[in-house]
Symmetry: C2
Subunit: 414 residues, 2 copies
């Protein structure tokens, strides 16, 4: 069977499953999530076995050690996936929530009610544990999901999805609620993008280029170019702690910082000490001229450094003459994901939150806190930088749409 027919068949089945899911009770969906968690625990050995195949092929193909580490499933990692599913079960059900309700002068009662999107196509290149998270979030929000992970994780993702689909079936919901595209054929991804008759939303999760390739229906990033700006009024001890955390707590993620901006008035008091702490955390600095005058060991930054997502232990550093110059730098170089200011000046904090245009604007805290679980929204499909539909962490509520329900007793239009 060719790739297009394969994908179309799965998408059509997903559409039918979505109808049943949309009407499923919260209790049934939560029971399915519990079964999914139990299934992963019971089938741990089989999943690790499938994962071993992926790892062997990966080694043979010469994948880096870091990549292979991300790909590896262990008993502990599978247990975490099960815990994640139970946490999703504990979240409130977004479906059926009345978002808004009012009464018109003619007695018409209008309400806006949350309903599932339908079928979600999720295309991602991340670790296999994302498969369980995505399946859980979609099921909780009443959506069928068609998963397409990286081809390196094909066997692992297929094994996980089979376990999850069987668990869903046990509760009387259709197994087609959770499906995987079990082919490494790239044409399969491309045909997913043309199936808007069956697939209501495509979520591509990955780097800039990948997302651009996947036509921009919704945009969920695994990367981001985030700044921390240390204002002249900043508590410098707090600023250093935030910068070190934003850069070095985990470097390979979208909400880690790539550029540090420092107001000239505090550069001398702040930069030498902060540089020492960053270097102690293993971070290499690349600085502007004024930075290098204060910390001579710093390598010079090239113009391209302001636009580079290092995703590594490297930080670009620039001294700015004013608050306005910092805002302007962020406007020109930021990716619109998360931007932070450290300041004690209320007016500066207000201006920063108003003038910076990003999914999240952070005052006096680390950009690393910008994510679904840190925000208390539960697991997430990723962080969206799209201005449409959902902006910021994409959790169960963001996987829904609304419909208007209008109740009358014979009203007509005059």
């Amino acid at each position: 069977m060719d790739a297009a027919a394969h994908v179309t068949g799965k998408a059509r089945a997903a559409k039918a499953a979505a109808r049943a899911l949309a009407l499923a009770s919260t209790r049934t969906k939560d029971e399915a999530l519990q079964q999914m968690a139990r299934g992963l625990e019971e089938k741990t050995a089989a999943i690790i076995e499938a994962n071993r195949g992926d790892l062997e092929r990966g080694r043979a193909a010469g994948l880096t050690r870091a990549f292979l580490d991300r790909l590896t499933l262990t008993e502990a990692r599978i247990a975490e996936m099960a815990t994640g599913l139970r946490q999703i079960a504990a979240l409130p059900d977004p479906v059926g929530e009345t978002v808004d309700a009012w009464r018109r002068p003619n007695g018409l009662e209008i309400s806006r009610v949350r309903v599932p999107l339908g079928v979600v196509g999720f295309i991602y290149e991340s670790r296999p544990n994302v498969t369980a998270d995505a399946a859980g979030l979609c099921l909780k929000s009443g959506n069928a999901v068609l998963l397409r992970g990286g081809s390196e994780a094909l066997d692992s993702n297929t094994a996980i999805t089979q376990v999850l689909a069987r668990a869903v079936e046990k509760t009387g919901l259709p197994a087609e609620a959770v499906q995987v595209l079990d082919t490494a054929d790239r044409a399969a991804v491309m045909s997913m993008l043309t199936l808007d008759r069956y697939i209501d939303l495509i979520i591509p999760r990955g780097g800039e280029e990948f997302v651009r390739l996947v036509a921009e229906k919704a945009t969920v990033h695994d990367r981001g170019l985030c700044h921390v700006y240390v204002d002249e009024s900043a508590d410098l001890e707090m600023a250093a702690a935030i910068v070190v955390n934003a850069k070095a707590q985990r470097v390979s993620v979208c909400n880690s910082a790539e550029t540090l901006l420092v107001h000239a008035a505090v550069a001398e008091g702040f930069l030498p000490a902060a540089a020492a702490r960053l270097q102690a955390a293993g971070v290499e600095l690349r600085g502007c001229e004024r930075t290098r005058a204060l910390v001579p060991a710093v390598r010079p930054a090239a113009e391209s450094d302001w636009d580079t997502e290092y995703l590594d232990y490297i930080l670009a550093v620039r001294v700015v003459a004013s608050f306005e110059e910092a805002v302007d730098h962020i406007r020109r170089h930021g990716s619109g994901l998360a931007e932070a200011i450290v300041t004690s000046d209320l007016r500066r904090a207000r201006r920063f939150t108003q003038e910076i245009d990003a999914a999240a604007v952070v005052v006096n805290a680390s950009t690393r806190l910008v994510d679904g679980s840190q925000f208390g929204m539960g697991a997430e499909m990723g962080i969206s930088t799209s201005r449409l539909h959902a902006r910021g962490p994409v959790g169960v509520r963001e996987l829904t749409t609304t419909k208007f329900v209008v109740m009358g007793d014979g009203q007509v239009r005059e």
Copy 2:
């Protein structure tokens, strides 16, 4: 200058204007809306003069009388446009609204705040009065707008936009907040679609084909295939009034009914009388066999009638054996805009609102009530059938996005 350069220049200017608009106070925006209303009133003669040119060209090009009537601006119609702008000024400002706010265990304060989308590209084929509505809605929601109406209304739209832009400028806001593509060149529209660097949202408003052509970023319809289903438990007097209103109150609009479905148990008691009232309102009926057995004068419906948006004094009529058959018919033939049931049975009403998937589901009222002003949401850009971002009437709130504002006192990620 070629079309692409022309459009790019306007889009870039719109982006710069959008920044100023995003920070403008409610008072300034409302003052601009008042100035816009006053400007239209003061320049009525010049607008009518420009409109005369469009009408002459339209007559020469052989446009239908109905089309020319829609294109015609009169003093009364321009006064209505001014009134519409004043109504938009009176709406609450969506920008800055805190949609949600909570506090995390670590003391982090998270809020989700409404902000403008940025630059809206609005492509429409409707009457020139839509130009003022769209400009007003975008300005109120802090967005710059790039308008592209039908080429038949080019001079009218250009004249209106010039008046509006000058009025905006009087309040200190940039004139580029409201711009029109003053060219009939179709390439200009196509290049609008590629400018996602400057334009944040394209809203195409028009029929199915037009919208498909304009890449589906957001989908705002001027058409729709809406059903009224008369259940076996319906109050038949109420049902007749609703059907006549849904069909005949205004036939050329998206929320008028195209198909009537009647439960078999009440067909005999309902159809002959309802048919007489519809025919008295000038409506031609096309019916299934069972309909024709009860009302012999009715023309037979072809299979294609169930999929036809007449936008005319024609109504397809079908007798269904059950509630389920009605739901199934609507699922297969509905356009997802507005669907109505007339029933006295609470369980049926609940099932209908749950099982029918449409932007608006209506119980015991006319589908004609599904629109922004009837819902009390103010004027609208149109009614969206997209599941993403905005579904239903698109008013000022739907022209915004949100951003997270995170306030801390030194929180970092553990």
